[in-house]
Protein backbone atom coordinates (compact mmCIF):
# COMPACT_ATOMS: atom_id res chain seq x y z
CA UNK A 1 0.00 0.00 0.00
CA UNK A 2 1.17 3.44 -0.81
CA UNK A 3 2.07 5.16 2.40
CA UNK A 4 3.64 8.29 1.01
CA UNK A 5 4.75 9.93 -2.20
CA UNK A 6 8.22 11.36 -1.68
CA UNK A 7 9.86 13.66 -4.16
CA UNK A 8 13.56 14.44 -3.78
CA UNK A 9 15.58 15.35 -6.87
CA UNK A 10 17.83 12.40 -7.73
CA UNK A 11 20.70 14.69 -8.74
CA UNK A 12 21.75 18.16 -7.72
CA UNK A 13 24.75 20.44 -7.93
CA UNK A 14 26.74 21.14 -4.77
CA UNK A 15 25.24 24.10 -2.97
CA UNK A 16 22.05 24.04 -5.03
CA UNK A 17 18.76 24.76 -3.26
CA UNK A 18 16.43 21.85 -3.94
CA UNK A 19 12.73 21.46 -3.18
CA UNK A 20 11.60 18.40 -1.26
CA UNK A 21 7.94 17.36 -1.37
CA UNK A 22 6.23 14.74 0.74
CA UNK A 23 2.60 13.64 0.53
CA UNK A 24 1.62 11.19 3.27
CA UNK A 25 -1.45 8.99 3.07
CA UNK A 26 -3.22 9.43 6.39
CA UNK A 27 -6.87 10.06 7.43
CA UNK A 28 -5.97 12.70 10.08
CA UNK A 29 -9.22 11.94 11.88
CA UNK A 30 -9.78 14.78 14.34
CA UNK A 31 -11.64 12.92 17.06
CA UNK A 32 -14.30 15.64 17.04
CA UNK A 33 -16.52 14.11 14.38
CA UNK A 34 -19.45 11.80 15.03
CA UNK A 35 -20.14 8.68 13.04
CA UNK A 36 -23.58 7.58 11.83
CA UNK A 37 -24.15 5.95 15.23
CA UNK A 38 -23.78 9.27 17.04
CA UNK A 39 -20.54 8.23 18.72
CA UNK A 40 -17.31 10.10 18.30
CA UNK A 41 -14.90 8.65 15.77
CA UNK A 42 -11.66 7.93 17.56
CA UNK A 43 -8.91 10.42 16.96
CA UNK A 44 -6.23 9.20 14.58
CA UNK A 45 -3.67 11.78 13.54
CA UNK A 46 0.00 12.12 12.86
CA UNK A 47 1.68 13.97 15.71
CA UNK A 48 4.98 14.82 14.14
CA UNK A 49 6.99 14.76 10.97
CA UNK A 50 10.75 15.09 10.59
CA UNK A 51 13.31 15.03 7.84
CA UNK A 52 17.02 14.44 8.24
CA UNK A 53 19.73 14.78 5.60
CA UNK A 54 22.77 12.64 6.28
CA UNK A 55 21.76 12.47 9.92
CA UNK A 56 21.26 16.20 10.32
CA UNK A 57 17.75 17.55 10.97
CA UNK A 58 16.65 19.85 8.16
CA UNK A 59 12.90 20.06 8.74
CA UNK A 60 10.43 19.05 11.40
CA UNK A 61 6.82 19.82 12.17
CA UNK A 62 4.23 19.15 14.87
CA UNK A 63 0.80 18.25 13.55
CA UNK A 64 -2.55 18.93 15.15
CA UNK A 65 -6.15 17.74 14.71
CA UNK A 66 -7.15 20.62 12.44
CA UNK A 67 -4.79 19.52 9.69
CA UNK A 68 -6.22 18.02 6.54
CA UNK A 69 -6.15 14.39 5.58
CA UNK A 70 -3.13 13.31 3.56
CA UNK A 71 -0.77 16.04 4.82
CA UNK A 72 1.57 17.57 2.28
CA UNK A 73 4.95 19.07 3.12
CA UNK A 74 7.13 21.07 0.77
CA UNK A 75 10.37 22.69 1.86
CA UNK A 76 13.78 23.63 0.54
CA UNK A 77 17.22 22.48 1.59
CA UNK A 78 20.75 23.02 0.38
CA UNK A 79 22.22 20.01 -1.41
CA UNK A 80 25.60 19.91 0.30
CA UNK A 81 26.71 16.30 -0.24
CA UNK A 82 25.51 12.99 -1.65
CA UNK A 83 23.54 11.14 0.95
CA UNK A 84 20.32 9.74 2.26
CA UNK A 85 17.33 11.89 3.08
CA UNK A 86 15.25 10.23 5.77
CA UNK A 87 11.61 11.03 6.44
CA UNK A 88 9.78 9.87 9.53
CA UNK A 89 6.34 10.46 10.89
CA UNK A 90 4.76 9.41 14.15
CA UNK A 91 1.09 8.84 14.91
CA UNK A 92 -1.07 9.05 18.04
CA UNK A 93 -0.07 5.55 19.08
CA UNK A 94 3.61 6.48 18.88
CA UNK A 95 4.12 4.29 15.86
CA UNK A 96 6.75 5.69 13.57
CA UNK A 97 7.16 5.07 9.86
CA UNK A 98 10.35 5.80 8.01
CA UNK A 99 11.05 6.22 4.32
CA UNK A 100 14.26 7.27 2.65
CA UNK A 101 15.39 8.83 -0.61
CA UNK A 102 18.84 9.24 -2.11
CA UNK A 103 20.31 12.39 -3.49
CA UNK A 104 23.42 12.50 -5.67
CA UNK A 105 25.40 15.72 -5.39
CA UNK A 106 28.00 16.47 -8.04
Amino acid sequence: MARALINVPAKAKRGEIVEVKVLISHPMETGFRMGPDGKFIQREILKSFACTYDGEAVFSADLHPAMSANPFFAFNMVASQSGVVTFSWTDDKDQTQVQTAKIDVE
Partner: protein, 260 residues
Amino acid sequence: MSWRARGLALALLGLAGAVGARADIPAGERKSGALFMSKQTQAMQADDTANPGMLAAAEGEGLWNASPAPGGKSCAQCHGAAETAMKGVAARYPAVHEASGRVVDLDGRINVCRQEKQNASPLARESRELLALSAYVGLQSRGLAVAPPDDARLAAARERGRALWETRMGQLNFSCAQCHDDNWGKHLGSAPIPQAHANAYPIYRLEWQGMGSLQRRLRNCMSGVRGEPFALGSPEFIDLEAFLAARAQGMPVETPGVRP
Protein backbone atom coordinates in the same frame (compact mmCIF):
# COMPACT_ATOMS: atom_id res chain seq x y z
CA MET B 1 -51.35 49.62 -26.31
CA SER B 2 -50.94 49.85 -30.07
CA TRP B 3 -50.87 46.74 -32.21
CA ARG B 4 -47.18 47.35 -32.84
CA ALA B 5 -46.39 47.52 -29.11
CA ARG B 6 -48.49 44.45 -28.52
CA GLY B 7 -46.54 42.63 -31.22
CA LEU B 8 -43.24 43.60 -29.61
CA ALA B 9 -44.44 42.40 -26.23
CA LEU B 10 -45.41 39.06 -27.74
CA ALA B 11 -42.04 38.82 -29.50
CA LEU B 12 -40.25 39.49 -26.17
CA LEU B 13 -42.37 36.83 -24.50
CA GLY B 14 -41.37 34.44 -27.24
CA LEU B 15 -37.71 35.30 -26.71
CA ALA B 16 -38.04 34.76 -22.97
CA GLY B 17 -39.56 31.38 -23.73
CA ALA B 18 -36.64 30.49 -25.96
CA VAL B 19 -34.09 31.58 -23.35
CA GLY B 20 -35.94 29.67 -20.65
CA ALA B 21 -35.97 26.51 -22.74
CA ARG B 22 -33.09 24.14 -22.15
CA ALA B 23 -30.18 24.16 -24.53
CA ASP B 24 -27.03 22.09 -24.49
CA ILE B 25 -23.74 23.90 -23.90
CA PRO B 26 -22.14 24.51 -27.33
CA ALA B 27 -18.93 22.52 -27.84
CA GLY B 28 -16.82 25.68 -27.97
CA GLU B 29 -18.06 26.87 -24.59
CA ARG B 30 -17.47 23.68 -22.65
CA LYS B 31 -15.16 24.16 -19.68
CA SER B 32 -13.73 21.58 -17.34
CA GLY B 33 -14.64 21.93 -13.69
CA ALA B 34 -10.94 22.58 -13.03
CA LEU B 35 -11.29 26.02 -14.63
CA PHE B 36 -13.85 27.03 -11.99
CA MET B 37 -11.42 26.28 -9.14
CA SER B 38 -8.98 28.55 -7.38
CA LYS B 39 -5.43 28.83 -8.76
CA GLN B 40 -4.16 26.95 -5.72
CA THR B 41 -6.47 23.98 -6.27
CA GLN B 42 -5.60 23.95 -9.97
CA ALA B 43 -1.92 23.83 -9.05
CA MET B 44 -2.58 20.98 -6.64
CA GLN B 45 -4.21 18.95 -9.41
CA ALA B 46 -1.49 19.76 -11.95
CA ASP B 47 1.43 18.72 -9.73
CA ASP B 48 1.61 14.93 -9.40
CA THR B 49 3.71 15.25 -6.26
CA ALA B 50 1.02 17.37 -4.59
CA ASN B 51 -2.16 15.80 -5.99
CA PRO B 52 -3.57 13.55 -3.24
CA GLY B 53 -5.39 11.54 -5.90
CA MET B 54 -1.99 10.17 -6.88
CA LEU B 55 -1.86 8.36 -3.52
CA ALA B 56 -4.94 6.44 -4.60
CA ALA B 57 -3.47 5.80 -8.04
CA ALA B 58 -0.26 4.51 -6.47
CA GLU B 59 -2.30 2.20 -4.26
CA GLY B 60 -4.19 1.09 -7.37
CA GLU B 61 -0.92 0.19 -9.05
CA GLY B 62 -0.17 -2.15 -6.16
CA LEU B 63 -3.62 -3.74 -6.45
CA TRP B 64 -3.23 -4.08 -10.23
CA ASN B 65 -0.18 -6.27 -9.72
CA ALA B 66 -1.48 -8.25 -6.74
CA SER B 67 -3.61 -11.38 -6.78
CA PRO B 68 -6.95 -10.45 -5.16
CA ALA B 69 -7.82 -13.97 -3.98
CA PRO B 70 -6.06 -17.30 -3.54
CA GLY B 71 -5.77 -18.89 -6.97
CA GLY B 72 -7.03 -15.76 -8.68
CA LYS B 73 -4.99 -13.93 -11.26
CA SER B 74 -3.86 -10.37 -10.80
CA CYS B 75 -5.06 -7.73 -13.26
CA ALA B 76 -1.55 -7.61 -14.69
CA GLN B 77 -1.43 -11.35 -15.36
CA CYS B 78 -4.17 -11.03 -17.98
CA HIS B 79 -3.84 -7.43 -19.14
CA GLY B 80 -0.11 -6.84 -18.77
CA ALA B 81 1.20 -3.39 -18.04
CA ALA B 82 -1.60 -0.93 -17.34
CA GLU B 83 0.29 1.86 -19.09
CA THR B 84 -0.34 0.20 -22.44
CA ALA B 85 -3.31 -2.12 -21.81
CA MET B 86 -5.48 0.45 -20.04
CA LYS B 87 -4.58 3.45 -22.17
CA GLY B 88 -7.83 5.08 -23.27
CA VAL B 89 -10.02 2.51 -21.52
CA ALA B 90 -11.47 4.78 -18.84
CA ALA B 91 -12.22 7.37 -21.54
CA ARG B 92 -14.63 4.91 -23.19
CA TYR B 93 -16.76 3.98 -20.20
CA PRO B 94 -19.67 3.41 -19.55
CA ALA B 95 -19.80 0.74 -22.22
CA VAL B 96 -21.73 -2.43 -23.05
CA HIS B 97 -20.43 -5.59 -21.44
CA GLU B 98 -20.66 -8.00 -24.36
CA ALA B 99 -21.23 -11.20 -22.41
CA SER B 100 -24.23 -9.90 -20.48
CA GLY B 101 -25.41 -7.14 -22.81
CA ARG B 102 -25.60 -4.80 -19.81
CA VAL B 103 -24.28 -1.25 -19.73
CA VAL B 104 -21.56 -1.06 -17.08
CA ASP B 105 -19.40 1.78 -15.82
CA LEU B 106 -15.69 1.42 -15.11
CA ASP B 107 -16.21 0.44 -11.46
CA GLY B 108 -18.80 -2.10 -12.54
CA ARG B 109 -16.41 -3.47 -15.17
CA ILE B 110 -13.65 -3.90 -12.59
CA ASN B 111 -16.05 -5.91 -10.47
CA VAL B 112 -17.09 -8.05 -13.46
CA CYS B 113 -13.43 -8.92 -13.90
CA ARG B 114 -13.03 -9.72 -10.23
CA GLN B 115 -15.98 -12.09 -10.21
CA GLU B 116 -15.51 -13.76 -13.57
CA LYS B 117 -11.75 -13.83 -14.04
CA GLN B 118 -10.13 -13.31 -10.67
CA ASN B 119 -12.13 -15.65 -8.47
CA ALA B 120 -12.70 -12.77 -6.05
CA SER B 121 -15.69 -11.06 -4.49
CA PRO B 122 -16.80 -7.74 -5.99
CA LEU B 123 -15.49 -4.63 -4.27
CA ALA B 124 -18.03 -2.38 -2.59
CA ARG B 125 -18.80 0.87 -4.38
CA GLU B 126 -16.76 3.75 -2.89
CA SER B 127 -14.46 1.28 -1.15
CA ARG B 128 -10.86 2.37 -0.91
CA GLU B 129 -9.70 -0.47 -3.15
CA LEU B 130 -12.21 0.14 -5.93
CA LEU B 131 -11.47 3.87 -5.99
CA ALA B 132 -7.75 3.12 -6.05
CA LEU B 133 -8.13 0.74 -9.00
CA SER B 134 -10.37 3.08 -10.97
CA ALA B 135 -8.01 5.98 -10.25
CA TYR B 136 -5.07 3.94 -11.53
CA VAL B 137 -6.93 2.76 -14.64
CA GLY B 138 -8.28 6.28 -15.19
CA LEU B 139 -4.80 7.75 -14.89
CA GLN B 140 -3.76 5.77 -17.97
CA SER B 141 -6.24 7.82 -20.01
CA ARG B 142 -5.15 11.18 -18.66
CA GLY B 143 -4.88 13.74 -21.43
CA LEU B 144 -6.85 11.62 -23.89
CA ALA B 145 -10.26 12.74 -25.10
CA VAL B 146 -13.41 11.36 -23.51
CA ALA B 147 -14.53 8.96 -26.23
CA PRO B 148 -17.85 7.22 -25.53
CA PRO B 149 -18.33 4.31 -27.95
CA ASP B 150 -20.60 4.70 -30.94
CA ASP B 151 -22.90 1.87 -29.90
CA ALA B 152 -26.64 1.83 -30.53
CA ARG B 153 -27.19 -0.12 -27.31
CA LEU B 154 -25.77 2.81 -25.36
CA ALA B 155 -28.10 5.28 -27.03
CA ALA B 156 -31.07 4.13 -24.95
CA ALA B 157 -29.07 4.51 -21.73
CA ARG B 158 -27.96 7.98 -22.78
CA GLU B 159 -31.53 9.02 -23.50
CA ARG B 160 -32.69 7.75 -20.11
CA GLY B 161 -29.74 9.59 -18.57
CA ARG B 162 -30.67 12.79 -20.36
CA ALA B 163 -34.25 12.46 -19.11
CA LEU B 164 -32.97 12.12 -15.53
CA TRP B 165 -30.64 15.08 -16.07
CA GLU B 166 -33.63 17.20 -17.02
CA THR B 167 -35.98 15.88 -14.32
CA ARG B 168 -36.73 18.16 -11.42
CA MET B 169 -36.00 16.43 -8.13
CA GLY B 170 -36.16 16.91 -4.40
CA GLN B 171 -37.91 19.44 -2.19
CA LEU B 172 -36.03 22.24 -3.95
CA ASN B 173 -37.39 20.90 -7.24
CA PHE B 174 -34.28 21.44 -9.35
CA SER B 175 -33.02 19.44 -12.28
CA CYS B 176 -29.30 19.00 -12.94
CA ALA B 177 -29.73 20.96 -16.17
CA GLN B 178 -31.20 24.01 -14.47
CA CYS B 179 -27.93 24.68 -12.68
CA HIS B 180 -25.29 23.12 -14.90
CA ASP B 181 -26.65 23.89 -18.39
CA ASP B 182 -28.62 27.08 -17.78
CA ASN B 183 -26.74 28.82 -14.95
CA TRP B 184 -23.13 27.66 -15.03
CA GLY B 185 -20.62 30.37 -14.22
CA LYS B 186 -22.97 31.94 -11.66
CA HIS B 187 -22.69 31.31 -7.96
CA LEU B 188 -24.66 29.26 -5.48
CA GLY B 189 -23.79 30.94 -2.24
CA SER B 190 -20.07 31.45 -2.57
CA ALA B 191 -19.48 28.39 -4.74
CA PRO B 192 -19.24 28.76 -8.51
CA ILE B 193 -21.61 26.58 -10.51
CA PRO B 194 -19.51 24.52 -12.92
CA GLN B 195 -20.72 22.84 -16.08
CA ALA B 196 -20.53 19.44 -14.40
CA HIS B 197 -18.45 17.55 -16.92
CA ALA B 198 -17.48 14.04 -15.85
CA ASN B 199 -13.90 14.06 -17.12
CA ALA B 200 -11.83 13.85 -13.92
CA TYR B 201 -13.36 11.01 -11.91
CA PRO B 202 -12.61 9.50 -9.52
CA ILE B 203 -11.72 12.79 -7.86
CA TYR B 204 -9.98 13.80 -4.66
CA ARG B 205 -12.44 16.26 -3.17
CA LEU B 206 -11.08 18.57 -0.52
CA GLU B 207 -14.49 18.76 1.13
CA TRP B 208 -14.55 14.98 1.45
CA GLN B 209 -10.91 14.78 2.51
CA GLY B 210 -10.76 11.76 0.28
CA MET B 211 -11.48 10.10 -3.02
CA GLY B 212 -14.93 9.66 -4.47
CA SER B 213 -16.55 8.43 -7.64
CA LEU B 214 -18.86 10.28 -10.01
CA GLN B 215 -21.78 8.51 -8.37
CA ARG B 216 -20.82 9.85 -4.96
CA ARG B 217 -20.71 13.32 -6.48
CA LEU B 218 -24.14 12.82 -8.06
CA ARG B 219 -25.58 11.67 -4.74
CA ASN B 220 -24.09 14.79 -3.21
CA CYS B 221 -26.05 17.03 -5.60
CA MET B 222 -29.22 14.99 -5.12
CA SER B 223 -29.14 15.38 -1.36
CA GLY B 224 -28.27 19.05 -2.00
CA VAL B 225 -31.66 19.57 -3.63
CA ARG B 226 -33.22 17.62 -0.73
CA GLY B 227 -33.91 14.61 -2.91
CA GLU B 228 -33.61 10.92 -2.13
CA PRO B 229 -30.36 9.91 -3.86
CA PHE B 230 -30.29 6.84 -6.08
CA ALA B 231 -28.37 3.90 -4.68
CA LEU B 232 -24.71 3.51 -5.61
CA GLY B 233 -24.44 1.31 -8.68
CA SER B 234 -28.14 1.70 -9.54
CA PRO B 235 -29.21 1.62 -13.22
CA GLU B 236 -30.22 5.28 -12.94
CA PHE B 237 -26.66 6.28 -12.14
CA ILE B 238 -25.24 4.15 -14.97
CA ASP B 239 -27.65 5.92 -17.36
CA LEU B 240 -26.61 9.33 -16.02
CA GLU B 241 -22.94 8.38 -16.38
CA ALA B 242 -23.57 7.30 -19.98
CA PHE B 243 -25.24 10.62 -20.72
CA LEU B 244 -22.49 12.62 -19.01
CA ALA B 245 -19.80 10.76 -20.96
CA ALA B 246 -21.51 11.72 -24.22
CA ARG B 247 -21.92 15.27 -22.92
CA ALA B 248 -18.17 15.52 -22.21
CA GLN B 249 -17.14 13.84 -25.46
CA GLY B 250 -13.80 15.14 -26.69
CA MET B 251 -12.79 16.82 -23.42
CA PRO B 252 -9.43 15.68 -22.02
CA VAL B 253 -9.50 13.20 -19.14
CA GLU B 254 -8.00 14.69 -15.94
CA THR B 255 -8.14 11.65 -13.65
CA PRO B 256 -7.32 11.84 -10.79
CA GLY B 257 -8.89 15.28 -10.53
CA VAL B 258 -8.83 17.52 -7.46
CA ARG B 259 -11.99 19.44 -6.68
CA PRO B 260 -12.75 21.85 -3.82
